[in-house]
Amino acid sequence: MKIKPKVGVVSCSGECCSLGTLSRVATRLVLEELRSDQTVTICLPLFLAGETEENEFAKEHPTIAVDGCGKLCAKKAIAKYSKEPAAGIDVEALLKEWGVEPPGSRRVLDTDGVKMARRLAELLANEVDEIMEAD
């Protein structure tokens, strides 16, 4: 029986704007609700501090980078301090593609913001499935 490794999902910290909050909430929804048995979150600030379990995990397991904007901090950090992520999403670019405006508040997502986060989480869940299928 082949044991499938878990997928690490890394959200940007994104304090600058609501896109970061969206990334974060979407990542948590994948972990808590959609793919709780298949995923692990990587805490980005801890990862950046270096030489932690987060770093070791990311070196050995596939990861998905969830970035709020085109600066792609999560993707670049993962590539720099472990290895290239298996997949990545740029939330800002996705929202433009969907034709939706980012949520108004960076602190608390309103109802539409939570819906957006859930939609993103579903997309992430599919990425997790694809990675696990490919393995």
Partner: protein, 134 residues
Amino acid sequence: MSKPILVIPCSGIGKPFGSISRDATFLVCDELRPGKADTLCLSLLVMGDEEARSKVASSKCITVDGCPLACARNNVERSGGEVAAEFRVIDLLRENRGLKPRTVTFLDEDGEKLSKLLADKIATKVDELMEEAR
């Protein structure tokens, strides 16, 4: 007018403390001290973004960490920033023993209470640092 004080949370995603650090920071920057307190993305700073580095180099920084691992403080210091004050959510928990924040994704009632208490303390510190800068 003095430059805004930079309030930088750890935003750790694995524990309620990280969410509280983030929420309190937004409360300070957006509601309690708009224009006097600002924040920036910790990961942008660590990844060497020029604008973020320049901001940190020319501003007083307050770090807001969730837990004793102190990722915000450590990462700001490593990036050349000077930490004028630091807060840890876990210390506030010690002062408010009855509060038990449990959730990470969306703050529960105790998480919100703790966040507000922390935001008030940070706001007071912002005032002190702004006063010193005059």
